[in-house]
């Protein structure tokens, strides 16, 4: 299973990067591939490619503010959350997202 995720927060200094690190750590632990794009004060980093979107099973939208070019992910199942939730409980966020998706 492949996950793509975008993190962003109001200042773009701390939460964006902490949430990205938390997601990567949790995905690794749960055995999922993940690519996390950060949209912070340092600009867009690790931008998700079209190829990655095409093979993704789940999109985690951890944007506390509207994410840039969100329409790129329109064809992937979207789970909306916040950076704070991800920082506190990244594994639970991923599990909840897949559970909701399975009920679709």
């Amino acid at each position: 299973m492949k996950i793509i995720a975008v993190t962003s927060c109001p200042v773009g200094m701390a939460h964006t990067y902490m949430a990205a690190a938390a997601l990567k750590k949790a995905a690794k632990k749960l055995g999922y591939d993940i690519k996390v794009e950060t949209q912070g004060s340092m600009g867009i980093r690790d931008r998700i490619t079209e190829a990655e979107v095409a093979t993704a099973d789940l999109f985690i939208d951890a944007g506390d503010v509207a994410i840039i070019d969100a329409e790129r992910f329109d064809n992937v199942y979207r789970y909306e959350t916040s950076t704070t939730k991800v920082i506190k409980k990244a594994e639970q966020v991923i599990k909840d997202a897949f559970e909701l998706k399975s009920k679709e």
Binding site: A14, H15, Y17, M18, A21, M42, D64, K88
Partner: protein, 154 residues
């Protein structure tokens, strides 16, 4: 760019007291002001609260990370404080024992200062670091530990 430009022993205090969130943020921001890292104490604190009002920066686990990209910042900085008694933050949240206050000037956006600060934030979700943080009483050792963890990343 080295970590010692962002913080140093003068900006770390592991023996602080505060009764309220306001007092706690104030005492930490004061370290920045007294070391000439910010130009206006109340103006900077106002900017920190602007971010804080959007959503509390209490991360759980007794750590809060108030921060601002503010015109009142002279030089990108991190001030670190430990409180002897946990301080209430917002209703329904765990009280805070540690504050990591991040300050960046708008002129420094997108450069290495910000990179260091964001990496410092990432260290705060590292369990080994948190265990170390709870155990250490020596600010030089804390500085060295963070510096070591950041080493090679920048």
């Amino acid at each position: 760019m080295e970590f010692k430009e962002i913080t140093n022993a003068d900006l770390i205090n592991l023996n602080l007291n505060a009764k309220t969130k306001k007092e706690a943020i104030n005492v930490i921001a004061k370290m920045l002001y007294e070391n000439n890292r910010i130009s206006d104490l109340s103006g900077f604190i106002e900017n920190v609260y602007k971010r804080e009002k959007l959503e509390s920066t209490n991360m759980g686990g007794g750590i809060a990370i108030p921060h601002s990209i503010s015109d009142f910042v002279n030089k990108a900085s991190i001030a670190i404080g430990r409180f002897n008694d946990p301080v209430d933050w917002e209703d329904g949240e765990d009280p805070i024992s540690y504050i990591f206050l991040f300050a960046v000037s708008p002129l420094e956006k997108g450069i290495t200062h910000l990179e260091l600060i964001s990496q410092m934030a990432v260290i705060l979700i590292d369990e080994d670091f948190i265990n170390f943080l709870h155990k250490t009483n020596d600010k030089e050792m804390l500085f060295n530990k963070i510096s070591e963890l950041l080493g090679g990343k920048i």
